[in-house]
Symmetry: C2
């Protein structure tokens, strides 16, 4: 199976990492729209326009599946991408909703959804979780984590001050949705802040769980062919990919 992974920038590499660990695919074509990142502060029409352009780009390859690794795109543009694409398109939001439901013991447990401003405004996670009967939900736009992670800050005072800024008046949740691909890179710090009992929902693991349920994988690929494309500075993307994915 040959798939495309689309993200607004480099964050989607955390999803690729999960895909590689599970050896599901023969070939992964990654496209990061690094010239126009971040999407999380853009409005709906712009996000849809960029997402359709990504589908057009993927038509250069004969893909069996497109995975939308970006939560913001998944929240706003999935149906438009499906209309334009000639293969199935799956997004991390629907996967994250199911993974959250699987992780919780009962429908009264508290869920905290973190994301960019656009993802939180979309209420995509709440809508999906409500439909499954979960009502104890809170969402918080925590966009500052994105540039902090991009400065390669994964611990220390800036992060601690930012956690306090965002969460000092937020009740501790039973599950925490890392609704932006950058957030898994600070999962240790978040786990430390919210405590060991809090279940962290990671987009990469959620999408693997979702794919294994929806598709039949008849074989494991010991080696996956990786192709990286970026709308700007592809060398920088490849350097980070090598670092994060250890290849």
């Amino acid at each position: 199976m040959k798939i495309g992974v689309f993200d607004s920038g480099i964050g989607g590499l955390t999803v690729v990492k999960s895909l590689l660990e599970h050896k599901l695919f023969e070939e992964i074509v990654y496209f990061g729209d690094t010239a126009r990142v971040p999407y999380g502060v853009k409005d709906k029409n712009t996000i849809i326009r960029y997402a359709i352009e990504a589908v057009e780009f993927f038509k250069n390859f004969e893909l069996d599946l497109i995975i939308v690794a970006c939560n913001t795109v998944s929240a706003y543009a999935l149906s438009e991408m499906r209309e334009s694409a000639s293969c199935p398109v799956v997004g991390v939001v629907e996967a994250g909703i199911l993974a959250t439901a699987n992780a919780l013991s009962n429908k009264h447990e508290r869920v905290l959804i973190l994301g960019t401003k656009a993802t939180v405004n979309s209420k995509a996670y709440e809508t999906g979780l409500n439909a499954l009967g979960y009502e104890n939900l809170q969402a918080k736009a925590t966009g500052l984590f994105v540039p902090i992670v991009e400065e390669e800050i994964y611990e220390g005072e800036i992060l601690q001050a930012t956690l306090k800024h965002y969460f000092s008046s937020v009740a501790k949740p039973d599950a925490l949705i890392l609704g932006c691909t950058h957030f898994p890179l600070i999962s240790d710090v978040l786990q430390g802040y919210f405590g060991k009992k809090c279940k962290l929902i990671h987009s990469g693991d959620a999408i693997v769980e979702y794919l294994e349920k929806e598709f039949v994988f008849s074989q494991k690929y010991e080696k996956t062919q990786l192709k990286f494309f970026a709308s700007e500075n592809p060398d920088a993307l490849k350097t980070i990919a090598k670092k994060w994915l250890n290849f």
Copy 2:
């Protein structure tokens, strides 16, 4: 005189504020490329392409002058903009260089240049200051201040931790160039950190100083007509403009 002010986003409003205070212009047309902000992490060719598109946009108005309020664009794309434009184009970097020279007592004083990654990599301030005989220069990419200011955080623990992160091993300067239009919004915090004796170079004030030297202004305008354009979400730009410019 009817002018255009170009910025990658909302930051250039700090330059407009200075222009209004000095009552230099009859009409100001502001264009913020909010759909593609931030420029500070993009590469040179992309910045030049976007800057030329801005010049094309300004051709819809009969302008006497274009001011580039964005340090990153001023550092990389000024000559290309001048080639495309049919009116003079001035940038905050050349203005900032002259303002710094005017603010210093002698050529041995220490200058610290703050900016986005792209502005700092361009070495535009260093090149200009070197040419004037200033050698005691240090530049520091402090990009995190941009999203922090955009979260409307102007003081407190996150900023203090970020100051420590960037400056704990930096010698205190005699002059500090605020080489990004967002930084004047945290000038109190920066002044507090570096001490009262440190001269802060503000792009808005620098451009006024530069214009008053280069052009003849025969009258003051008690009322300036303001027009705001944004490549995305113009309402958000107007709301912030009203707040920052008090109109």
